[in-house]
């Protein structure tokens, strides 16, 4: 190999390394950006689903609450909220799986808080919505 060819080969190799480094950095930025866009899409999707959730509830008897899913999407009840004189009481569902399919209704038993008809009763769903009686 001639000297000028050697010099050219060295410069070409160095440029190749430099270009690889810059492309590597750019690729890392692009990957991170795609994660961010994915996260934004997921958050928007979550808000959209959340706004479509609709539950109604009423007190059937002293310690039973009927919950109706009026929306077209399933709902999961995290807890019942009872606004008593001593503050808010949070109770998980006791007797049945707290899953309500679309347009499904279920009756839940809540014991130990007295007559539920005397208090404001609400439900908290897995999507973070709160629905109160009435």
């Amino acid at each position: 190999m001639r000297n000028d060819e050697r010099g050219f080969a060295i410069v070409a190799a160095a440029l190749l390394v430099a270009v690889s480094i810059f492309f590597g950095i750019a690729a890392a930025v692009v990957v991170e950006h795609s994660h961010m866009v994915e996260g934004a899409a997921h958050a928007q999707q979550m808000q959209s689903i959340r706004s479509r959730e609709e539950l109604s509830l009423w007190i059937v008897s002293e310690n039973t609450v009927e919950v109706v899913n009026k929306g077209a999407l399933p709902s999961v009840i995290v807890a019942f909220l009872i606004n008593t004189e001593n503050g808010l009481v949070v109770k998980p569902a006791e007797n049945v799986i707290p899953y309500l399919g679309a347009f499904e209704n279920k009756t839940f038993t809540i014991t130990g808080e007295g007559d539920l008809r005397e208090f404001d009763v609400g439900v908290l769903t897995q999507l973070g919505n709160v629905f109160w009686r009435g």
Binding site: N3, R6, G7, I10, V11, A14, L15, V17, A18, I21, F22, I25, A26, A28, V29, E32, H33, H35, M36, G39, A40, H42, A43, M46, R50, V78, A79, L81, N83, G87, L88, V90, P92, G122, L124, Q126, L127, G128, N129, V130
Partner: protein, 154 residues
């Protein structure tokens, strides 16, 4: 004659070494300085995007507030996938002291350093009479990843 030829060969080699060293030095310098700058800038961009990504994963909803003479209890639910850590809380524009704890509202006794995903927590803030709930107030929350939430509570 042969000596002259040998001298010419030496000069070419020395010339080649000088040019190669200069080129290599210049390329190394550019790679070191500009490459580092580009990496720093890219890292900055990546950090900003990661922070935004974390912020998008912070999803909390306001559930309820109760009060007594000395305390305001706020119930928040994390319906996202990330832990949510509050950095600053303002009650009707006044910053609350940063010594609150996150008590699980469903599982009695459990406490956390942040609001874990799918958890309903009770956060207690000391207040002075009269309670801000009497006339209603704005609850403003800033999270660790710079998310901002504001609710009117009455």
């Amino acid at each position: 004659m042969s000596l002259f030829k040998e001298q010419r060969g030496v000069a070419e080699i020395i010339g080649f070494l000088i040019v190669t060293t200069a080129l290599f030095g210049a390329v190394t310098y550019v790679l070191a300085v500009k490459g580092q700058q580009a990496e720093q800038q890219a890292q900055g961009l990546i950090d900003v995007m990661r922070e935004a990504e974390m912020r998008q994963g912070e999803l909390i909803s306001y559930v309820y507030t109760t009060d007594d003479e000395n305390y305001l209890k706020v119930y928040l639910y994390n319906y996202g996938a990330e832990n949510v850590e509050l950095s600053r809380v303002f009650i009707q524009g006044k910053e609350a002291e940063n010594n609150w704890s996150y008590k699980d509202a469903v599982e009695n006794g459990a406490t956390y350093n942040s609001i874990p995903p799918s958890k309903l927590v009770e956060i207690t803030f000391p207040i002075t009479s009269p309670s801000p709930l009497e006339n209603g107030f704005y609850l403003t929350i800033l999270t660790k990843h710079r998310g901002v939430y504001c609710w009117w509570i009455s």
